[in-house]
């Protein structure tokens, strides 16, 4: 895991892309990302709550076009980090620059460029959807409030409920109101704290599609502990645990590195013993597990060895072959459980 630990290295994003390129094997690991302009720069961020290190030396740069998924167990420091990024909390030390504006010394200008959906999408329940969006637009100094409000009502599909008070809305609609308010000034940086947490699968899909559709000219940082969401929505993934940034990579690269990637499972019509011994002798093979009529083959370094395996398995009564993908869950667990305080 050490190779992936790149805290306090401002250039780690490019490193991750380079690592993902040539070493990727048989499939492209990530789409080559245009090196967009840097919109968020975080350097050596620390935040303590008493003895607890909520954020422990995080540095990163986020560029236009990035959809960065912030993963980590509960209490890992995701929310604290996002609160510092948005200027709600002051860090103990370190700096955050948003579009060139320091979040502490030039706070209003930096905040002007951020759209933020806090955890659980808080909103003033007694206000109507339209009234609330108008308030946020006015407080943000949006020039044409009416057109901004109708634009985000369209984007977040809130037309049906726009005259309802927010406290009467379902969770999914409330979340969309939160997204709409974050988008009202068309910000360059969008920070979303668990945007799909607690939503049903349909509502999740709606919110995820909305996020994907927004990404082109912005940078989006979202936190989640739903790992599928990172795979579906993000083009960059970070794992944070106990305030430390452990992994900064792309979702595809993470899958490649996940334990169990390219594991091949063979179903045979005859006893697998002989074949198991043959495969075990191959220099690329790490472990072979044989049971009844099933062989599970773990290639070294998670590399794809399907063609070699099929070559060796000729004439062994092969019934089915399955090559597995790495599971983000496993990598997540492996990464975050290994950290000691």
């Amino acid at each position: 895991m050490e190779t992936m630990t790149k805290e306090q290295d401002p250039s780690n994003h490019q490193d991750a892309e380079q690592a993902a390129g040539p070493a990727a094997g048989d499939e492209p690991v990530s789409d080559p990302q245009p090196a967009g302009e840097v919109l968020v720069e975080v350097a050596d961020l620390f935040k303590h709550y008493g003895p607890i290190k909520a954020v422990d030396g995080i540095s990163m740069t986020v560029r236009r076009g990035d959809i960065l998924g912030f993963m980590g167990p509960n209490g890992a420091g995701k929310t604290t980090a996002m609160r510092i990024l948005t200027g709600f909390l002051a860090p103990d030390s370190g700096s955050v620059r948003v579009c060139g504006h320091d979040i502490s010394s030039d706070s209003l200008a930096a905040r002007q460029r951020i759209g933020y959906l806090p955890e659980n999408a808080p909103a003033y329940g007694e206000m109507t959807v339209t009234g609330f969006l108008e308030f946020v637009a006015e407080a943000r100094g949006v020039a044409d409030i009416d057109s901004a409000v109708s634009r985000v009502i369209g984007l977040a599909e809130l037309r049906k409920v726009k005259h309802q008070t927010i406290e009467t809305l379902s969770k999914g609609f409330k979340r969309r109101v939160g997204l709409a308010q974050a988008l009202i000034h068309d910000p360059e940086v969008l920070i979303l704290d668990e945007p799909t947490d607690g939503l049903d699968p349909n509502q999740k899909a709606v919110v995820q599609d909305l996020i994907s559709s927004l990404s082109k000219d912005k940078c989006i940082i979202l936190s989640t502990h739903i790992l599928d969401e990172v795979e579906r929505v993000c083009n960059r993934a970070m794992i944070i645990s106990q305030g430390k940034l452990l992994v900064d990579s792309t979702p595809k690269e993470l899958i490649r590195r996940a334990p169990g990637h390219n594991v091949v499972v063979l179903q045979l019509s005859e006893d697998p013993g002989a074949l198991a011994a043959k495969i075990q002798d191959a220099e690329w093979c790490d472990v072979v597990e044989a049971s009844d009529r099933t062989l599970t083959i773990y290639p070294k370094n998670g590399e794809s060895r399907l063609s070699e395996i099929l070559e060796l398995a000729k004439g062994s009564g092969l019934e089915s072959v399955e090559q597995q993908e790495g599971r983000l869950d496993d990598l997540f667990r492996q990464t975050t459980q290994g950290v000691s305080r």
Binding site: F88, L108, P118, R140
Partner: protein
Amino acid sequence: MSSSSRFTGLKSIFKRELKGYFSTPLGYIFIVIFLVASGWLTVSRDFGRFLELRQAGLDPFFTYVPWLFVVLVPAVAMRLWAEERKTGTVELLFTLPVTLEASYLGKFLAGWSFLGFSLLLTWPLIWQVARLGEPDWGVLFTGYLGCFLLAGVYLAIGMLFSAITKNQVVAFILGTTVTVLFLLVGLPQSLEFVGNYLGGYAEQVLLALSVTDHFETLTRGLMELGSIFFFLAFTAGWLICGMLALDRVKAS
């Protein structure tokens, strides 16, 4: 885009808050309770004895307003920050390009305007006084000014307690307790007690800090600049303490 200053966003916060008083039943309930209670205390034979006094003045009203405000103003103040912190909207508010000072003052000014509006709704009392006799308009004016300034002090005190707790009931109790204390220290009995035990100097200090004394100066018809300044400075002091406190605890 709005220009950046210390008070960027004050106007939009003020507007939202003021509208809030009239978009929920809370504001109307407050007004009804205030008008009924103040009217009853003024006219009642057991309290204000407005009719029995046969004077064209509102002394009975001004006597009881400070005590009514002790309960009613903290009730207005209690939700101002406690609710924001409880529901998490404080995070939304403070990540808007709005300064803490602007949000705090915006809320305060909206609340104060609402209280001023409630005071204006007691106009039938003035009308009756004018109908029944020849009132001293100067006394009425300074009296109402005193009530308005007093409301501002109480609101600033209540807001500080609303800022430091997420629990509205706790904010209300603390606000009421402290405002009552500031009324009590100005009573002759308390002043005499302190004077006897700590000496005349302590008594003078207490008197200078007493809300009651400055309030009575105004209701007696004296347009004393010192008293007006006292109210404004006292309010500002509580507001500044409240802002400092809120900045410390906003995220907890």
